[in-house]
């Protein structure tokens, strides 16, 4: 195709999780040695620990990062859309996710059926969100990124990346 189509649009991340936005902050996500690019495949065993998320931006700005799975429990029947995996707030610009406040601890991908997309969304905060105001969502399934952004006045995201993950087959299976 001569025209470049954004991989986020092709993978329907824009549309199902977030709305069309203009990326303004550079975000680099890596699980150990593997860097995450849009649509790459990461094994759940490699993604069990939280990734290293480096963001650009000015030191005064604060950012919110969240990770969801829009294909829970199965891509053909995503009735638990979305499944929340991670929320970190008050990340200073130019640093990484460990410098922020963890609102929902990290949970690695555990796709039961099919190939799931895991979306990492970065928002820019208008001001520091105090712990009392940042009410963590009650439960992980049935999360809605747009509603969360609306409730905390986060606006459109500034950076989005997604990767695919699939349940690893158990080791005893005989391979032809």
């Amino acid at each position: 195709m001569s025209r470049f189509v954004d991989p986020l649009v092709v993978g329907r991340v824009i549309g199902e999780v977030v709305d069309l936005f203009v990326p303004s902050v550079a975000m680099a996500v890596s699980y150990g040695a593997k860097d995450v690019s849009n649509g790459c495949h990461v094994k759940p065993s490699m993604a069990a620990d939280q990734p290293l998320v480096r963001i650009s931006g000015r030191r005064n700005d604060l950012y919110t990062l969240l990770m969801t799975d829009p294909d829970a429990p199965s891509p053909s029947d995503p009735n638990m859309r979305e499944y929340l995996h991670w929320i970190v707030m008050n990340i200073p610009g130019g640093t990484d996710a460990t410098k922020g406040d963890v609102v929902m601890p990290y949970l690695g991908p555990q796709p039961p059926v099919g190939i799931h997309r895991y979306v990492l969304v970065l928002f820019q905060q208008k001001s520091r969100i105090v712990d009392g105001y940042a009410a963590p969502p009650a439960d992980r399934p049935y999360f809605n990124t747009r509603a969360f952004a609306f409730n905390h006045e986060l606006g459109l995201p500034v950076a989005v990346v997604y990767f695919n993950s699939q349940r690893e087959p158990s080791g005893n299976r005989r391979r032809r």
Binding site: V10, G39, D71, S76, V113, G114, I115
Partner: protein
């Protein structure tokens, strides 16, 4: 006729004056009578099917010359039909090759003979027809079960038609369509789940129920891979 000229034993007879009667006497007897041959001349499609059934190298040159003559001439001309039927009846006396072997000539809708693949849009996927059907059945079953699968790009593109067909059957929802779907998809609980949820999910969508997203090539053989998913 050139083949017979090259194998002519007697040098006394000149190669340029072969007579039709001596030729007919030398070769095995015709199965079709001339009246039936004329009737066959008015049905060019049936002739072409018999021609494609076998290909003996011994008479290949005569096939090409007579078939080109018959396809270019109008079907109503009797002489070309008779000569064409002679060649076709020769083919009928030879055995038909098995369906797995490569046919020398295919035919198009009008009964013309084609040696090339021009305009044929079926993806062959490097397999004979029964294995191809089984592969596509398995892939559509897995896609309907998992919702998103990763496979090679040509297979994903070939699958689209069958997945759309299955979803169209489920949209109709009648018993006959359900049984047709059960005859194609390998697992029956998937068919029942499909018929239950398709009207809600794809009720308004007029076709195009799948999406193909290319991805990185496979490491072992650099095959272009793609995700195919239900929209």
């Amino acid at each position: 006729m050139a083949a017979f000229a090259s194998t002519s034993p007697s040098p006394a007879i000149s190669a340029s004056t072969w007579r039709m009667e001596s030729l007919r006497a030398a070769l095995p007897a015709l199965r079709t009578s001339p009246s039936a041959a004329i009737g066959a001349g008015l049905r060019p499609r049936k002739q072409a099917v018999r021609l494609g059934a076998s290909a003996s190298p011994f008479l290949r040159s005569s096939f090409v010359s007579t078939s080109s003559a018959s396809s270019s001439a109008s079907p109503s001309s009797i002489s070309s039909a008779v000569s064409a039927s002679l060649a076709f009846s020769y083919t009928s006396s030879f055995s038909v090759e098995s369906s797995f072997e490569h046919r020398l000539f295919g035919t198009d809708v009008h009964g013309r003979i084609l040696a090339m693949r021009h305009g044929k849009r079926i993806p062959r996927l490097g397999r004979p027809a029964d294995q191809r059907k089984a592969l596509l059945r398995g892939l559509t079953t897995q896609l309907l079960k998992h919702g998103r699968i990763k496979t090679t790009k040509p297979r994903a593109k070939a699958m689209r038609k069958w997945v759309d067909k299955m979803i169209t059957l489920a949209k109709d929802g009648s018993l006959h369509k359900r049984r047709q779907a059960l005859g194609y998809i390998y697992e029956k609980h998937i068919v029942h789940a499909l018929f239950a949820e398709v009207p809600d999910r794809y009720g308004e969508r007029p076709g195009g129920y799948t999406r193909i997203i290319p991805t990185f090539p496979r490491r072992g053989d650099n095959a272009p891979m793609a995700y195919i998913e239900l929209v």
